[in-house]
């Protein structure tokens, strides 16, 4: 099998995706409600995420942004206290109610957490992990994909001589880029980023933001942040949340220059 076949073999190729999608909807959330015992923490969320755009989920701490993100790839399964209802559709599959293979649906959505969680293996094996889960066993294909994805996040030159070192030996900023490369290696369609720069220094944060700007040509990015300036820098589409509900959504220009609700006005004033 040739290297050029790897994209088609693993998922739809980047180029193909670019041709197919010009800001149509990739993810649709319908009537999503999440309860923790008696607390209603996500309230009747209805949302459409446009393809190949950066959608920023913005709002004060505790407003439900992270919970919404975890619902999107059903990581709520790990939280015993969460009761989730509604539907989240990607490619016609409702991840919350599907009888299909949830891991394969999850692979359509790469995850970048608040702080990096490298797997307890080497740098190389971190990136190869998801590729192997897709059933790819050809060592050369895996090597090619590992290099390609490390290059994509600008980490290859920094780690190419120590690929077998523990991933935890990298700096936090490098670990976060490694986690991004690891996520990209499974060819996701969406990148779910939950405050990915909150644990990073300003230089590493800037690197991640630059990566997002570059990656949005090929991927849909859903970014959770409460940093207003980051939202202004990156967003194509903004969803403002407060107290578990979507208050306003639209383009950055609409929301930041012409807020309609008092909550958003107040948030913008405080954020500045």
């Amino acid at each position: 099998m040739s290297f050029s076949n790897i994209d088609t073999m693993t998922e739809v190729s980047v180029e193909q995706r670019e041709i197919n999608d010009v800001s149509s909807t990739i993810l649709q959330i319908k009537d999503l409600n999440v309860y923790v015992e008696d607390h209603h923490i996500l309230k009747n969320i209805n949302l459409e995420i446009p393809k190949n755009r950066v959608t920023v989920l913005l709002g004060p701490s505790g407003c439900g942004k992270t919970t919404l993100l975890k619902c999107m790839n059903k990581l709520t399964d790990l939280y015993r206290e969460l009761e989730v209802s509604g539907s989240i559709l990607i490619d016609g599959d409702d991840i919350l109610n599907t009888s299909k293979n949830v891991p394969s649906i999850r692979q359509k959505m790469g995850l970048l957490s608040q702080r990096p969680y490298p797997l307890p293996v080497s740098i190389y094996k971190n990136v190869a992990y998801g590729i192997k889960l897709k059933g790819i066993r050809d060592k050369k294909l895996i090597q090619y994909s590992v290099q390609k994805n490390l290059e994509e996040v600008g980490l290859w030159d920094e780690v190419k001589d120590r690929l077998n070192s523990p991933a935890t030996s990298l700096s936090i900023g490098q670990q976060q880029r490694l986690c991004l490369a690891r996520g990209l290696a499974v060819k996701p369609r969406i990148i779910l980023a939950d405050e990915p720069t909150s644990a990073l220094d300003p230089i590493s944060s800037k690197t991640i933001e630059e990566l997002f700007r570059r990656l949005k040509k090929h991927y849909t990015i859903i970014l959770v942040t409460h940093v207003l300036r980051q939202a202004i820098r990156l967003a194509d589409n903004v969803v403002f949340m407060s107290d578990g509900a979507i208050i306003e959504q639209g383009s950055p220009d609409e929301l930041f220059n012409n807020p309609q609700t008092d909550k958003l006005k107040e948030y913008l004033v405080e954020g500045n």
């Binding site: 975890k70 790839n73 990581l75 891991p103 957490s113 969680y117 293996v121 779910l192």
Partner: protein
């Protein structure tokens, strides 16, 4: 300010006394067994089997008991790992959304941990009779595995509880099933803790007398098959100490010294391996 300094000083002294007391107790135990057993501590003790019987014989060594203890420790540890590792992973992976079920399982494990070894010995004896078995190596292994199983599962469980949820999420988000997450990520992440738990359970297994008294039996010979009786070091200490002959009682202390050294070595190995794997757990 002065009062705070006095409080601080008293607390520091009490903490230091408590810490050094523990070391002193260990040193005292070692001193007693080594001083009392010094006359009998020689190479024969670890290279030869007893001559003239373990109760009256003052010659030979306790190689039969050393080998028997290692056999029982190893066998029971293997069985406990085979059952214990999946059980601990099940509690932490598949029962993660079922807090009550988790609590019930943990409660039973804690209760089993608290049951005295003699009760396990009595249970193993009953089971042995029911199955038509004699006191044997395999009966000892099964009984000791029951004894160390809750210790191992709860130790594994505690290790798994320390693994951050972010790592679970990262693994699942990459497309792992829960089983893949358990074995490829959680197991590796907790590996150094697992090694420590296994070695400490092994040490517990070779050090117990009550569980093997009725089940493994005792013999001057080294067992060659699973259905032969097996001697163990704790029972060697027990039987030799109750002998009327002073030389044999001295050998009891020498046996105790050997057992203590074995436990200390296992503890040191556990610390070393744990430290080493926690630093270089990469492949």
């Amino acid at each position: 300010m002065k009062r705070k300094n006095i409080e601080e000083g008293i607390f520091k002294i009490l903490s230091a006394v408590a810490s050094y007391s523990i070391i002193a107790i260990l040193a005292f135990i070692l001193l007693i067994v080594f001083v009392k057993g010094f006359g009998a501590l020689n190479l024969d003790m670890i290279t030869k089997t007893p001559k003239g019987g373990f109760y009256y014989g003052g010659e030979g060594g306790v190689l039969n008991a050393i080998v028997g203890s290692i056999y029982i420790g190893l066998g029971s540890t293997v069985i406990a790992i085979i059952i214990g590792a999946p059980a601990a992973l099940y509690i932490n992976v598949h029962l993660i959304r079922f807090k009550k079920a988790q609590n019930v399982v943990r409660y039973f494990l804690d209760a089993l941990w608290g049951i005295p070894p003699i009760v396990y010995g009595a249970f193993g004896f009953t089971l042995m009779l029911y199955l038509g078995m004699n006191a044997s190596l395999i009966a000892g292994i099964i009984t000791v595995s029951l004894l160390i199983l809750p210790i191992m599962v709860r130790s594994f469980d505690e290790v798994l509880c320390t693994i951050p949820k972010g790592l679970h999420e990262a693994s699942l988000a990459l497309g792992s099933t829960k089983t893949e997450m358990a074995y490829k990520v959680m197991f590796k992440q907790g590996f150094s803790g697992f090694i420590t738990a296994v070695l400490l359970s092994f040490a517990r297994g070779i050090g117990d007398a009550a569980a093997v008294m009725f089940t493994a039996g005792y013999t001057d010979l080294i067992p060659v098959t699973f259905d032969e009786p097996a001697a163990t070091l704790p029972l060697a200490v027990f039987f030799q100490l109750s002998s009327p002959i002073p030389e044999v009682r001295e050998r009891a202390y020498a046996s105790a010294a050997i057992l203590t050294i074995m436990i200390l070595v296992i503890s040191l190995v556990a610390r070393f391996v744990s430290h080493r794997y926690s630093k270089s757990n990469i492949n």
